[in-house]
């Protein structure tokens, strides 16, 4: 399967590269755009990008693996980013994470089909922690009750 995908040209990725002038220095922006459009970075997309920017596939894999943002597999239906940096720890982020793990039956940074929990290290909301982000929206002073209602709210919008 992987080798088959490997040979597939990704038209969307090709377009995105072109929009960025096929410039290798815009690689991070290109990866962000492709991931936003397709949810994660497929073999076909990486191959196409490497070709369009005229860089080696080893190079592109090196970049993709270096940065925490880039995903190589399809994600969960919903991903909740929970801040576990110091200021949020100081107001109970670790307890929130344990409770959420139990409730959603998953581990922080583990795999999940339904709701996934992703650790993040500061969302810039350190005076109003614990902080959480879903679909690019930021929440402050999050406890378990609030987390569940935020999560449901986003599910409603995603549906």
């Amino acid at each position: 399967m992987a080798t088959l995908l490997n040979t597939i040209e990704d038209a969307k990725a090709r377009d995105i590269c072109r929009e960025h002038g096929d410039r290798p220095d815009e690689l991070l922006e290109i990866l962000h755009s492709v991931q936003e459009a397709q949810g994660y970075l497929t073999d076909g997309a990486l191959r196409t990008i490497a070709h369009a920017l005229n860089i080696s596939r080893a190079e592109i894999h090196g970049v993709v693996s270096f940065y925490h943002d880039y995903k190589r597999e399809k994600g969960a239906a919903q991903t909740i980013k929970i801040c576990r940096a110091e200021a949020c720890q100081a107001v109970g982020a670790n307890d929130l994470i344990s409770e959420a793990e139990k409730h959603f039956k998953t581990q922080l940074d583990g795999k999940s089909a339904g709701v996934a929990l992703e650790a993040t290290y500061c969302l810039g909301n350190c005076a109003l922690g614990p902080a959480v982000m879903i679909d690019g929206e930021l929440y402050g002073r999050v406890d378990m009750k609030r987390l569940l209602s935020i999560s449901d709210n986003h599910k409603g919008r995603e549906a």
């Binding site: 940065y67 720890q89 107001v91 350190c126």
Partner: protein
């Protein structure tokens, strides 16, 4: 005339439901004119809603969507009393007792209104700079004594001088908006609340060093700031304050936003420049310093957002006016950020020299939980823990260093008495493990060993020997790491171990909890 009501669009305000408040206001009082401003920085009051009156803006907060009907009924628009009313915003002591130079407009204006910006003093610095020769601009910055707000505190004017001296056609100016330190959010608030001031500072910097291209490298965790900065750049381009031959001055400056991808190390400048070239964010060996050979091997200045945003004031009011604030070689003001378990968390811009105690207690009001403060981490994840006995320290680069503390990006994270400092030390090592760029062994491997060793100590295994192992490891990381990630991670670890040994040495059963 309809009443003007301000509801912030700052991400922290949004995180507490500011948009829902706007919706509730719009449907219950369709006549009011709602303005989305930045945040005043009194984050515990967010969403902070302000009603404009003849005497000034009156503050209500924290306001939820459910409060809106009651507030309107109680006569909020006629500024009647209510339990959520705090009187005139600018008379709230937290706000009134600050010295707002860099954050002068944040929370006051509509962030994307260029006319608002100009009415409140914006563009005066740039207008002046466009008439000055590059050397005169650099001199003014030198006079101000401005030091880099990204952490290292290097004098900005001296750095600019080095770049100016490079005889090259292509140079770059980059704003470091990677703001990865926990407990810091000033860059974010400035970009969301007064984006034009960063742009103005960068155009001035571009003219000063001879760079015609600029980048703002913003971390991906800041989607709101990214959107606001991109819009602000378009507005400045349309108004002729960015682009070719700006206002006939001969200065050309084009500015682009680039988004990070979740890597703390990309805040380190050489790593950031690699990332801007589309590569892995690996730290590079210096020399050469970026001011001589940086982005695409061209002379490049990297400055923190707050350093650059201080420049318009320095040009418009004069370097001397800026240097009149502060203490010793720490001139001017620092936007401090109060975070963690703190009753009144937020942003406090004060001249250097204010004490930690004033920030934590007079401004911050102690802990939010009501428990005593156990320690404060100053200067981000690589900064040491400060115990209450040292809270009398003055906040300044030298005065803090004397006590083994660090200014960093001006963040203070408050921990209450429930905190186990052994766990915090373990976390410091773990954070280094997760975020190490992997280039050098003391950091890459040392952090993993450090974390394991602290776990052993906390489990009660061979404590004396393992503390020795930990100390050795810290020595090695401090002396042999290429950058401050590995080099300073021992700071929080050692300061925790030294001041709170009982949190490491507790009996095995305690630690296992």
């Amino acid at each position: 005339m309809s009443v003007k009501v301000y509801v912030p669009c700052d991400a922290a305000a949004l995180s507490m439901g500011a948009d829902a408040v706007v919706e509730a206001l719009e449907s219950a009082a369709p006549d009011v004119k709602i303005i989305r401003n930045g945040s005043r920085g009194m984050l515990w009051l967010e969403p902070l809603v302000e009603v404009e009156t003849a005497n000034g803006r009156v503050a209500y907060g924290p306001v939820t969507a459910d409060d809106v009907a009651g507030l309107l009924k109680a006569g909020m628009l006629e500024s009647n009393d209510h339990k959520l009313c705090h009187g005139l915003t600018e008379e709230i002591p937290y706000f009134a007792n600050q010295e707002r130079l860099t954050f002068e407009r944040v929370g006051v204006t509509d962030p994307l209104s260029l006319s608002d910006y100009q009415t409140h003093g914006g563009l005066k610095g740039l207008e002046k700079a466009l008439k000055l020769q590059p050397q005169a601009i650099v001199d003014e910055v030198k006079v101000s004594g401005l030091r880099g707000r990204g952490g290292a505190g290097f004098p900005t004017g001296i750095k600019w001088q080095t770049a100016l001296a490079q005889d090259q056609d292509q140079k770059y100016l980059c704003a470091n908006a990677d703001e990865g330190d926990s407990g810091t959010f000033a860059d974010r608030m400035l970009m969301e609340g007064d984006p034009f001031s960063l742009i103005e500072g960068m155009v001035i910097g571009g003219r000063a060093i001879g760079a015609d291209t600029g980048y703002i490298y913003i971390r991906s965790e800041y989607p709101h700031a990214i959107r606001t900065m991109r819009r602000a750049i378009h507005i400045m381009e349309d108004a002729g304050w960015l682009g070719t031959d700006i206002k006939g001055s001969g200065t050309t400056f084009n500015l682009y936003v680039r988004v990070g991808a979740g890597a703390y190390i990309c805040g380190e400048e050489s790593s950031m420049l690699e990332s801007l070239e589309g590569k892995r964010g690996q730290v590079k060996v210096k020399p050469p310093i970026p001011a001589i050979s940086g982005l695409f091997n061209k002379p490049t200045i990297v400055n923190n957002v707050l350093s650059l945003a201080a420049v318009p004031y320095i040009l418009s009011k004069g370097g001397k006016a800026y240097a009149d604030y502060g203490q010793g070689r720490s001139t001017g003001t620092q936007p401090f950020q109060l975070a963690g378990d703190i009753a009144r968390g937020g942003l406090v811009e004060k001249a250097f020299g204010v004490t930690m105690n004033e920030l934590l207690n007079d401004f911050g009001g102690g802990t939010r939980s009501g428990k005593p403060i156990k320690a404060v981490q100053a200067g981000g994840p690589l900064g040491g823990f400060v115990a209450p006995a040292d809270f009398d320290m003055a906040m300044g680069y030298e005065s803090m260093a004397e006590r083994g503390a660090m200014m960093g990006h001006g963040g203070l994270v408050v921990f209450n008495s429930d905190t186990n400092m052994g766990s915090m030390a373990r976390y410091a090592m773990e954070f280094c493990e997760i975020e190490s760029c992997g280039k050098c062994t003391p950091c890459r491997i040392g952090a993993v060993r450090g974390k394991e060793t602290i776990e052993k100590i906390m489990r009660g295994e061979d404590q004396v020997k393992n503390v020795e192992v930990l100390e050795d490891l810290c020595d090695l990381m401090e002396t042999a790491s290429l950058c401050a990630m590995g080099g300073l991670t021992p700071m929080p670890v050692r300061s925790a171990l030294k001041q709170f040994p009982e949190d490491f040495m507790g009996t095995a059963s305690e630690a296992a909890e």
